[in-house]
Each structure stands twice: as structure tokens, then as C-alpha cells.
């Protein structure tokens, strides 16, 4: 599916935003301004942007935890300030400051986060089930890492989605790592997408450093799901430039990832790849790009200001107890 110029510019803008948001999160974590942990997305910005930019509002999105789902959510039109406020422990947070790093934007069909890797696989079956029953072309974009496909939950979700031909996209962001473990060591096949073969589910393997390639694959899968063609497995081969989460050492197995590995990796920086493309295709000028970056920085400034100026969430226990059950 060839992308239009408008689509490419939108993707590029989202790439810049996602990248800047991730940098902001990294910086804030180092500054002690974030609660809990942060799993930085540097090097792995493109998959989420490519998967999420062309979703409809009523499509379900389960963001990957890498980058804490920000790169995905902002492409779906979610105002990240409520998530940053949450992550800063503030009353204005999307979860009222209760959740540390969880997110929830039900009106955008981004429902939840759980700390259990693979938690996404159970609910996506239900979203797909509801979507199919509703029959209005709703699609489920289910993003998670290579490591999450170790979970048996993945098997159950793929089995049932393929069996019922649910509109679920299994979008695997394969950065080759799961904390200290390499996908190469933990998975018997080169491609995680091979798992889809076991169910007869069509799959696409795509260069996850190239946001345009990811978007094309995603649009293809979205189109298939929307028109009743069932699930697709997409494997986006990507990279993790930083440590798993800030403060954890950057190991492969039990040894430091080598300088050579880092050097090779950073040659595949996704923003640079996208920039070369938009400049090369004359879709944007350097001036326009500078403006996009400036816009993103301004957006982030406002978001940070909102989070920083909001009051810390410290409701009395009674108030919390009243929120355990819905009326």
C-alpha cells in the first residue's frame, strides 16, 4: 500500500514528536521527576508510530510498554499531558495519580496497562470478539515485544483470533532483547513471525527502523482486519539503543553490550532514516523539519508544565476506598 505525501508527512511529524517525548521522559527520569521506572524507546520509535498513526478513533490500541506506550498513544490523538501527570504522581493524572506508570484512556479505546508482560493477549481477544460482533470495521492493534511472545497467552490469543477470524493485529516489536536476554537465545527461530505459521495466520516482516515501511505493513493488516479478512502478524525488526529500563545495566546475557554492537545499532537511527527519506523525496524542507521539531518541543513544554504544576495526588484513604467499585 503506497503512502500519500500527506501520510508520510504525518508519520514524520509523529516520529519527531515520539522521539522528543521519549527524550523528555528519559530526562525526567534522570532528574527524579518520574515515579516508578521508565523503559526508554530510543532506537525503537518507528514501530509504534507506524502501527498507530492510521488507526481510527474507535479502533482498539494496546500500546507496547517500551516508551511506556507514549509513542503509540500520541499518534492516536491522545493528549499525553494526563499520562505525564500520572507518571509524576499528580491529581490530574489519567488514573488520578494512583497507578504510577499505568495509562488508561477509555474514550480513545486505550484501556489499560498491567505490569504483567503478556497481559495484553487475553483482552485483545475480547476486543476482537466485540468488534466482530459489532461488525462496524473496528480493528484491534495489539503491540508488544518479542519477549512477550514467550508467554502462552500469546498462543491462546493467536489461536482464537485466527480461528474466529477476529480483526486483531499481532504487532510484534522485536528489538532482539528482553531485558538482558537476546531473542536469538530465547527463541528457536530467527523470526518471531514464524509462530503465526503454526496457526495459518498471514504475517509480514518489516524493517522496524523505517516508519514508512512499518506504516505500509500496518495499513495492509488494518485493511485486511477491517474488511473481515482476519488477523495478521506483523514483526517489526527494531533496536533498543539504551538499557532496558533506566538504572538497569545494559547487558546481553551477563556481559555489557559491546561498543561495536552499539555503534552498529546506532547506524540504524530511525529519525535519521526518516529524515533522509522526507528530504530525499522533497516532502519537507529542512526549515519545515525544524518547525516540526520546534512544535514538538513546545507541545512537550506545555505537557511538562501541566504535570509539574498539578497538585500531588494524596487523597484520603476513604476517598480511595470509594473508588474500588463502580456504582
Amino acid at each position: 500500500m503506497a503512502l500519500t505525501s500527506d501520510q508520510m508527512v504525518l508519520l514524520y511529524r509523529n516520529m519527531v514528536r515520539a522521539d522528543q517525548f521519549n527524550k523528555m521522559m528519559y530526562r525526567r527520569m534522570m532528574q527524579g521527576k518520574l515515579i516508578g521506572f521508565y523503559h526508554p524507546a530510543e532506537g525503537a520509535i518507528a514501530p509504534g508510530v507506524g502501527a498507530s498513526t492510521f488507526l481510527n478513533q474507535d479502533d482498539n490500541l494496546s500500546p507496547h510498554h517500551r516508551g511506556h506506550g507514549i509513542t503509540h498513544m500520541l499518534c492516536k490523538g491522545i493528549d499525553i499531558k494526563y499520562y505525564l501527570a500520572e507518571h509524576t504522581g499528580k491529581e490530574t493524572g489519567c488514573c488520578k495519580g494512583r497507578s504510577a506508570f499505568h495509562f488508561s484512556f477509555p474514550e480513545h479505546k486505550v484501556y489499560m496497562m498491567s505490569g504483567f508482560i503478556g497481559y495484553n493477549f487475553a483482552p485483545v481477544v475480547g476486543w476482537g470478539f466485540a468488534a466482530k460482533r459489532r461488525a462496524q470495521g473496528q480493528v484491534v492493534m495489539n503491540c508488544s515485544g518479542d519477549g512477550s511472545y514467550g508467554q502462552g497467552r500469546a498462543h491462546e490469543a493467536m489461536l482464537m483470533s485466527q480461528n474466529w477470524q477476529l480483526p486483531v493485529i499481532f504487532f510484534c516489536e522485536n528489538n532482539g532483547m528482553s531485558i538482558f536476554s537476546t531473542a536469538q537465545e530465547m527463541h528457536p527461530q530467527e523470526n518471531i513471525a514464524s509462530l503465526a505459521d503454526g496457526f495459518g495466520m498471514p504475517s509480514i516482516i518489516v524493517d522496524g527502523q523505517d516508519v514508512f515501511a512499518v506504516a505500509e505493513a500496518s495499513l495492509q493488516a488494518i485493511e485486511r482486519a477491517r474488511t473481515g479478512g482476519g488477523p495478521t502478524f506483523i514483526e517489526a525488526k527494531t533496536l533498543r539503543f539504551n538499557e532496558h529500563d533506566i538504572g538497569t545495566p545494559d547487558l546481553s546475557g551477563w556481559e555489557e553490550r559491546s561498543a561495536e554492537e552499539h555503534e552498529a545499532m546506532r547506524k540504524r537511527e530511525p529519525i535519521r532514516i526518516a529524515t533522509e527519506r522526507v528530504l530525499g523525496d522533497s516532502l519537507l524542507t529542512q526549515n519545515e523539519i525544524d518547525q516540526i521539531i520546534e512544535d514538538a518541543l513546545a507541545e512537550i513544554e506545555a505537557v511538562e508544565q501541566f504535570a509539574d504544576e498539578s497538585p500531588i495526588a494524596r487523597p484520603p484513604v476513604e476517598e480511595l476506598m470509594a473508588g474500588v467499585f463502580a456504582d
Binding site: S104, Y119, G126, F129, A130, R134, E156, V324
Partner: protein
Amino acid sequence: MREITFIDAIREAYEEEMRRDNSVFIVGQDVRGAIFPHTKGLVEEFGPERIVDTPIAESGMYGVAFGAAQEGMRPVCDFMFGGFSYVTFSECSVTTGQYHFLHGSQHPLPLVITAGVGTGQRLANDHAMSIHGTFAHHPGIKVAMPSTPYDAKGMFKSAIRDNNPVVIPWHMGIMMLKGEVPELGDDYVVPLGVADIKREGSDVTVLANSLQLQHALTVAEKLAGELSVEVIDPRSFVPFDMDTLLTSLEKTNRLVVVDEDWESGGFAATVSARVMEQGFDLLDAPVTRVTLPNMPVPGGYMEEYVAPNPERIEAAIRAVCA
């Protein structure tokens, strides 16, 4: 009033709620063909889109319920036997219980979890264990268990209409128990969180539920004349109706808690501890529990005397009244 069985009462609740609300559906394994009669024949009226069989994949199966509830439907997830819920426990306990609260109390999760539980079939631990205590340990989930056909129908209807996850197992030992139920079309519900005094008495209170409620009533009847036993059915564990219990203790000052769950960590311990804290001065004798001893439930011929039974209940009543 007409009399129907306990399990038929559950089926009537399903039928009425599914007719009333198109978003209600049932998901489980072999629920169309009906392993237990509460789903029998439903597929003929509601079709396989609403009486949904899944592969043996409890996470995916529960995921149908969980995800559909987020999408505004009202699923009933039938785990067949209660223990099978443990196969997808991170989802159905932690992730379920925290969903609403932890994400800012902005999005309800209206779903029902049910399953057959309890001793009496001689099937041993994994097919006999109770689950109400385990779920009552995990906040954010309502937990209830009916003891009569009347309550079964009314409580299942309440559970389906509740905007929260409700775990409502049913005890296999009273599946065929008959009892009075209002005429079809009389749309009554039994609210969750309200205990019921199943028999009035003045010497001692027995809190018992489900099959054990039947045992308690048998014992109360047997002791009538000698000891006046008040029998309270908690009906719900979360929320728990402490007021009804404390009011009864004001009269009797003695309490036996019967609970078909293990002594360690079961709901009976929670009741005893709460009475300790909130009703210590009411007590003329220590609260005494009749529970499963802390061993995996043996099957075979041992089940009947290892589990709570009328003899053990009677002995406990006599002990607290001594």
C-alpha cells in the same frame, strides 16, 4: 410459589437477563452442550454467538469476557470447575480487580465469573476446591455464593447487572436442591452484600453458606428444643454484611463460622478477625470455625469426613455453648 432446582434457577437468571439485555452473553468451554445444566438449551434460543464455546485456553476464554466487558458488553465467564480459574489467575484476580480502581475509577468492568465448586463429588482437590475465599482476598472483585434456588436466581441476576467483576460460584452439592422461586416474569433480584437470616434463634449464631448452610440448618433443626440456633447465610463475601452478623451476636453472643475453605487464609478467618475487632465485647465465647483442615482436599471416601459436615458443626455449636 413453584419449586425449581438450584441449577435451573441459575439458568432462569441467564435466560431472563439475556432476553432483557442483548449485551449479556456466556463464554466458556462446552457451555453450548452444557456440562452442567445451567446452560442447557440456551444455545437454541440465543445462538452460538451468545453461548460461546472456546478452546481449552482459559486465558483466551477469560479474555473474551474481560475484553468484551471493556467494550461495554456484560459477559458471564463459566470456568466449569472453580479451580480452572487458577489457570488464568493473573488475569482474573489481579488484573481484573485492579482494572477499575488503578486506572482512575473511570471505566467499569461488568463481568461475571462462575463455576461449580465444592466437595461431595469425591473428585479431590483440583476439582473440589472452593474459590470464594481466594477471590475475596483480592480487592476490586465482588464475591458471592447463593444457597437456595431463590437466592441463586436473584443473585445471578444482580451479578449480571452489577457494574463490577463479580465472582459467583455455585456449589455442586446443592445443584439439585429444590426450593421456592417466584413465577416466571416476576423480575426480582437479590442484592449483593446483604446477608439473610435463614433461621432465627437466640442461643448461638451460625454463619454458613451454600452446602454448609444446608448442613447448619439440619443441625439447627436437630438441636431445636435443646439449643436455639440462629443461622445466617452471608450470601456475599465481598461486600460482606457485617451489620446483620453483629446484630445477631448482640442477641446470641456466640458464633460458629462454617466455611468450606481451608482454615488458613479462608474467609472464616476474616470473619473471626473482624468480629474480634468490631464485636469483642459481644462475645461470651471465642468464635469457632468449622473449615477444611489445611490439606489438599482428598477425594475418595475421605472427603465426607475431612470437609465440614453436620457432625463437626454440631460439635462446634456445643463447644461454644458449653
